[in-house]
């Protein structure tokens, strides 16, 4: 199957559930999702065996935007579909997708500890990467995190 066909298929699956769909390049489809429609979107891709979850990226959009964003990247052949969920800086919450894709837990643990995003109903609440004595409430990948070495 060609990349364009795969993207078209993903478009049909996500259209009813996404807030907005854009194709930033010929091999990409970005779907803006609300936290509530995220699992439905993931379920649709999963049920139609559309590719695999390549990873989950957590972003801090910076003080001007004031929001966090979580990107769920799915790859199928040369095509990349990204489900994008924007979240408020205060009390960000997303549902877990690990009930659909069990291997997502590891990526969800990462965005929890690195960006302080609360992943609701995540089966493992423990730390994955950060040390045991890491202080609570310090999320290193947030732009306002005070870390040594930043003054460079």
């Amino acid at each position: 199957m060609q990349t364009a066909e795969r993207l078209q298929q993903a478009r049909e699956l996500l259209e009813p559930r996404a807030l907005e769909l854009v194709e930033p390049s010929t091999d990409r489809l970005d779907a803006e999702m609300s936290p509530d429609s995220l699992t439905a979107g993931v379920q649709a891709l999963h049920d139609h065996r559309w590719g695999y979850l390549s990873t989950i990226t957590g972003l801090d959009l910076g003080p001007d935007d004031g929001r966090l964003e979580v990107l769920y990247h799915f790859c199928s052949g040369g095509a990349i579909v990204t489900l994008r969920v924007k979240l408020p800086h205060e009390d960000p919450k997303v549902p877990t997708i690990s009930k659909i894709i069990p291997s997502a837990v590891i990526f969800e643990q990462e965005i929890e500890e690195m960006l302080g995003i609360d992943v609701l109903d995540i089966p493992i609440k423990e730390r994955l990467f950060l040390p045991d004595d890491w202080p609570d409430g310090v999320y290193p990948l947030r732009k306002d995190a005070q870390l040594e070495g930043d003054n460079e």
Partner: protein
């Protein structure tokens, strides 16, 4: 049936069966594993965060050091991503050389893995021989780039090193030797009765399970999942130099051995093809220092599977965010489910079967907690130390 108490065996972060720091807890019933969990991060260096304080060119050197085995892969994935962000096309000769180094790296990595895996199986003779032979490709990589690891072959917009006739000849001679040896290794891992007892039917992963767990690379291909970024989304020179997908259907450890060894032959073929048809021309294109706000993905087939980078620029000379996802993280989930129901003694083999790389996996952030920083050096202090050390009496 009476309820039996669960017995947990912690393994790591330092343990003779592990070559790198990670921590597992296995619950066992007699010799059989009933559950498994993992704790990572012992080699976490906060590299993603660090990239936000360095400019595009500096980050190349940082990211290449994520992994000492597939360093070229990381540098390449980063360069491809940044070039995509900036809309820069690199010359065909540079693409061919990037592909050449990538395949030479795959040869060294697969041979390294063969040795480690043989060692875990208790077959140290195979370990010694495969590592001896691996020196052939290490020497060639050194001749080409000046380094055994962290080759630093890439620059943003191209490559640093060129291949001349003499070096091409040396590479071809080296490949002839390696190819002969690789046939021998294929023969050993598929016929040696004692070895097969450790691999055949052990750690079986069905295609359906491999799909569901999202495994990548040779681990996926050994379970008949046809997934290879070089073929699915060709980058660098792979649309010209197309690899054949090496798959296997049994999904056990033997299949993982066979797939990796057969991939070596494909790499030899690709390297020969590149050296025979390498286009003439420039090695670099011009790169801007600042990159307008944009985002890009970059995917490369590392020896262990797909490496995925997300890059975001904001108009300055530094990235806004770089996210790195390495293949071991994807494949780790498979280890945790594969070991269940297996013998405890098979754990090291199953783990090594995915060719795990933990420095890839983990990427330490030093944290400022007022006054308590004696054991943690600032970047400035480290830099000054370096200057004093090399500028002083040494």
């Amino acid at each position: 049936m009476t309820e039996t108490e669960k017995f947990s065996i912690p393994i790591g972060p330092q343990h003779p069966a592990l070559k790198e720091p990670e921590h597992f807890v296995f619950s066992v019933d007699g010799e059989m594993v009933t559950s498994a969990s993992v704790r990572l991060g012992y080699a976490h260096r906060g590299i993603e965060k660090s990239t936000e304080n360095r400019n595009w060119a500096q980050n190349l050197y940082l990211l290449e050091r994520i992994c000492g085995i597939c360093s070229h892969t990381h540098a390449l994935t980063y360069c491809l991503g940044v070039e995509k962000l900036a809309g820069v096309e690199i010359p065909p000769r540079a693409n061919a050389i990037r592909t050449l180094v990538a395949e030479m790296e795959r040869v060294h990595s697969h041979l390294l893995w063969l040795g480690v895996a043989a060692h875990e199986a208790g077959f140290d003779t195979l370990f010694m021989y495969s590592w001896r032979d691996r020196e052939t490709i290490m020497d060639l990589l050194e001749q080409l780039t000046g380094n055994r690891v962290n080759y630093s072959a890439n620059v943003l917009g191209g490559v640093k090193f060129d291949v001349d006739e003499e070096l091409a000849g040396a590479i071809l001679d080296g490949l002839d030797y390696l190819e002969k040896r690789t046939y021998h290794y294929l023969d050993v891992v598929t016929t040696d009765a004692a070895f097969l007892q450790r691999t055949r039917g052990v750690g079986v992963m069905s295609a359906e399970r491999a799909e569901r767990l999202g495994v990548v690379g040779p681990t996926a291909r050994a379970s008949s999942v046809a997934r290879d970024v070089r073929i699915d989304a060709p980058y660098a020179g792979y649309d010209e130099y197309v690899p054949n997908l090496i798959g296997h259907t049994t999904g056990d450890l033997e299949a993982r051995f066979e797939v990796r060894i057969k991939e070596l032959f494909e790499s030899y073929r690709l390297i020969r093809e590149i050296l025979a048809t390498i286009p003439e021309g420039e090695l670099t294109s011009r790169m801007p220092r600042r990159i307008k706000a944009n985002e890009a993905f970059s995917r490369v087939e590392a020896p262990r599977g797909e490496v995925f980078y997300y890059l975001r620029s904001n108009g300055s000379d530094k990235p806004d965010r770089i996210k790195v996802r390495t293949p071991t993280l994807c494949n780790m989930a498979s280890v945790l489910t594969l070991v269940i129901g297996q013998q405890l003694a098979d754990i090291p083999m199953i783990l090594v079967g995915v060719d795990p790389c933990f420095s890839c996996n983990d990427r330490m952030v030093a944290i400022n907690r007022g006054g308590r920083s004696e054991e943690v050096w600032t970047w400035e202090r480290l830099r000054q130390y370096g200057i004093d050390y090399y500028g002083g009496s040494h």
